[in-house]
């Protein structure tokens, strides 16, 4: 299946989703980006340079781990995990940013901007900018700045400027709006490093392309190391980049079921979730440059979203995923905040893995389905990131008193300035 074989007159469309709903001022910049992407795709040296960079800088190929203990505990299918958490900066976001960094060099631009929710994409972009010598500005909603301070700290140490965004719901979508405003002003020098497979054409194509190495590796590893293809593949879905990255390796293998897991938040009927494809509140709209399913009301105003994981807390979803839902190639499910915390605890105790809260959505669903499946069934889960960044959120969710005391003690130290003596 070639997703990017666009019909004449439908460039950038996946079925009826996608497109380029951009202000006129960006038209020529987008044309320039489309050309650069096309040339890069046609140039085997570009991909080779990208792969070499990821091998020497970001631990690729990432392994697949077999979860023997957890599989035994669940008593059904066998669980395998693609370890994107082992990337530099701790998530699959590194793949996309390094690819876009190479493209930025080709474009001759010297400044990069990005939005970030969880801060993972922001940190990844900041490392890339440091390595390539680009000026770097990261837009981040004030609510996310508050809940992801460690990542803000690292972005700043890496030399990036972090701009808190106070508009709207002060989360990821507002950071994207602000990044777009920067881009319409500074496009001659600036590339917008969008963090997921969303936004105006050609971003969904470009991000999905850079992430496709996850699936290419995974398919090969399952066959060579574990003797057969997986039966089902699970990935969490925020904007959709880690899911598309892994799923692309198996799109043509019809026996492989692909399962995307959205953030069910406090439940699909709670009004506090981020499920665009699995809830009734998602409908087709156009915002932030593209057409897809959005969480919006009947007037087309976007709704507030909620998830325990900042990285899944977003109104839209990749147009490629909307299309593959419609064709039936991908099944979409949701996992709630509570299910995610339970899954995280189980995976930590049984396997010593610490998945990011985002990735724990994929684990939660696989863990739910595994017991009823025959023992020879293989489930492959994408661990899109590591959970270290979530220490504050997880400590709160499991109400760890020792952690609370530690923070209180730390606060007292700061007050009396002991910390600096």
């Amino acid at each position: 299946m070639n997703l990017f074989n666009f019909q004449p007159g439908h460039e950038g469309y996946y079925g009826e989703y996608g497109g380029a709903y951009i202000p006129e001022i960006l038209w020529s910049t987008i044309e320039e980006l489309k050309t650069a992407l096309k040339n890069a795709k046609a140039d085997p040296d570009f991909w080779q340079e990208y792969i070499s960079l990821m091998q020497s800088y970001s631990c690729r190929p990432t392994p697949i781990s077999y979860l023997e203990n957890l599989s035994r505990e669940l008593g059904g299918a066998q669980l395998y995990v693609k370890r994107e958490d082992l990337n530099h900066t701790g998530s699959h976001k590194a793949n996309n940013v390094m690819g876009q960094g190479l493209l930025t060099k080709r474009l001759g631009k010297t400044r990069v901007i990005a939005e970030t929710g969880a801060g993972q994409h922001g940190v990844a972009t900041a490392t890339m900018a440091a390595r390539f010598g680009f000026e770097c500005v990261i837009y981040m909603g004030t609510e996310d700045v508050a809940r992801q301070r460690p990542n803000v700290f690292w972005m700043e140490q890496l030399g990036a400027t972090v701009v808190p965004v106070t508009d709207g719901s002060q989360t990821l979508k507002d950071a994207i709006n602000e990044a777009m405003r920067d881009w319409v002003t500074n496009y001659p020098t600036t590339h917008y490093v969008l963090g997921t497979a969303c936004g105006t054409h050609p971003f969904p194509e470009m991000v999905a392309w850079f992430q496709s190495l996850i699936g290419t590796e995974a398919r090969e590893q399952m066959l060579s190391q574990y003797g057969s293809m997986p039966d089902k593949v699970f990935a969490c879905v925020g904007g959709g980049s880690n899911a598309l990255g892994l799923f692309q390796g198996f799109l043509d293998d019809e026996s492989v079921e692909l399962v995307g897991v959205e953030a069910g938040g406090k439940g699909l009927d709670s009004g506090a979730h981020a499920t665009r494809l699995t809830s009734r509140e998602g409908s087709v709209g156009v915002a932030q440059g593209y057409k897809t399913y959005f969480l919006q009301n009947n007037d087309g105003q976007m709704l507030h979203t909620h998830s325990i994981s900042a990285g899944l807390d977003y109104i839209g979803v990749s147009p490629i995923l909307s299309h593959l839902k419609q064709t039936g190639r991908i099944r979409f499910e949701a996992a709630t905040d509570n299910e995610v915390i339970e899954a995280l605890k189980l995976v930590m105790k049984k396997e010593g893995l610490i998945p990011a809260l985002e990735s724990a959505h994929a684990f939660a669903r696989a863990i739910q389905e595994a017991p009823a499946l025959p023992k020879h069934t293989k489930l492959l889960i994408n661990q899109s990131g590591r959970g270290d960044k979530d220490i504050f959120t997880v400590a709160d969710a499991i109400r760890d008193e020792n952690w609370e005391h530690f923070i209180q003690g730390k606060a007292k130290d700061y007050e009396s300035r002991n910390i600096y003596s």
């Binding site: 497109g19 380029a20 709903y21 951009i22 202000p23 006129e24 001022i25 960006l26 038209w27 020529s28 910049t29 508009d167 709207g168 979508k173 709006n177 777009m180 405003r181 319409v184 002003t185 500074n186 496009y187 409908s283 087709v284 709209g285 156009v286 915002a287 932030q288 440059g289 057409k291 919006q296 009947n298 007037d299 087309g300 105003q301 976007m302």
Partner: protein, 257 residues
């Protein structure tokens, strides 16, 4: 009367026309009405009424906040068209819907055009809907005698200026510079080359907006453009001192003194 003819007739009486802007429901519909009455008093030629949107990517901070506050006030599409109807009954200047494409998409193209028509609107400006994505909306508009107003930018190549000029109706919105609404524009030689490119490629009247905020901007544009579009500067004046400040500002901008 069609929009282009209206504009050409107005331009027989003055060297340059003006288009002004309000955001529906911000600070309130009553305030909008007060502002529109002042605009009438100063004889503006066209008015855009913006439908607030939750993701106003093309707008600068002043309008972003206004969009947000209007939505917080509970403004819906129904309120919007009711207000437009009221305004088009009271005022004789043509009123344009300004907003983001999602409003039209969610209503459905036919329904959107019908509602706009029933409310007495003359056309629409959707800055996030480029030519290539309009998907039949312009034909639906044309068969209801509504004008799609398209935007061009300094980065638009000549060939595309041509195509946009052909697809648009009424006039073309010439975005004066890069960036979002609200910042100042330095009108210079580069702009002159740009507006000349627009003239060569586009037969419709040209309206210049983004950063037009002072009398000297309008004087500069006279003879180069057909309409000066004033947006953020008006809202800034309102925020500074409500109706009184707005009137003072309009007087400085458009008064005879």
């Amino acid at each position: 009367m069609n929009l282009e003819t209206y504009i050409r007739n107005r331009l027989k009486q003055k060297p340059i026309g003006t288009m002004t802007h309000v955001i529906a429901g911000y600070p309130s519909f009553d305030d909008n009405l007060t502002a529109l009455r002042l605009m009438k008093k100063y004889n503006v030629d066209l008015v855009e009424i913006q439908m607030p949107f939750s993701e106003p990517t093309a707008d600068g901070p002043v309008f972003v906040k206004a969009n947000q506050e209007a939505l917080k006030n509970g403004i819906t599409v129904d309120h919007y068209f009711d207000f437009m109807k009221q305004a088009s009954q009271e005022f004789d200047f043509p009123i344009l819907m300004m907003g983001y494409y999602n409003t039209a998409l969610k209503l459905g193209h036919k329904n959107f055009i019908q509602r706009l028509k029933n409310a007495g609107g003359a056309g629409f400006i959707l800055p996030d809907l480029p030519l290539e994505e309009q998907n039949g909306l312009f034909d639906t508009a044309a068969s209801n005698e509504l004008s799609p107003i398209l935007l061009v930018a300094p980065t638009t190549p000549d060939e595309r200026l041509n195509a946009i000029g052909k697809a648009a109706n009424g006039f073309v919105y010439v975005v004066a510079r890069s960036g979002v609404t609200g910042d100042h524009t330095a009108f210079n030689k580069q702009f002159e080359t740009y507006i000349q490119r627009c003239r060569n490629a586009i037969k419709l009247p040209l309206a210049v907006g983004f950063g037009v905020s002072q009398k000297k901007d309008i004087e500069y544009l006279t003879g180069k453009a057909d309409i000066a579009i004033i947006g953020t500067a008006l809202l800034r004046a309102w925020e500074y001192g409500k109706a009184e400040a707005l009137e003072e500002f309009l007087d400085g901008l458009l008064g005879n003194g």
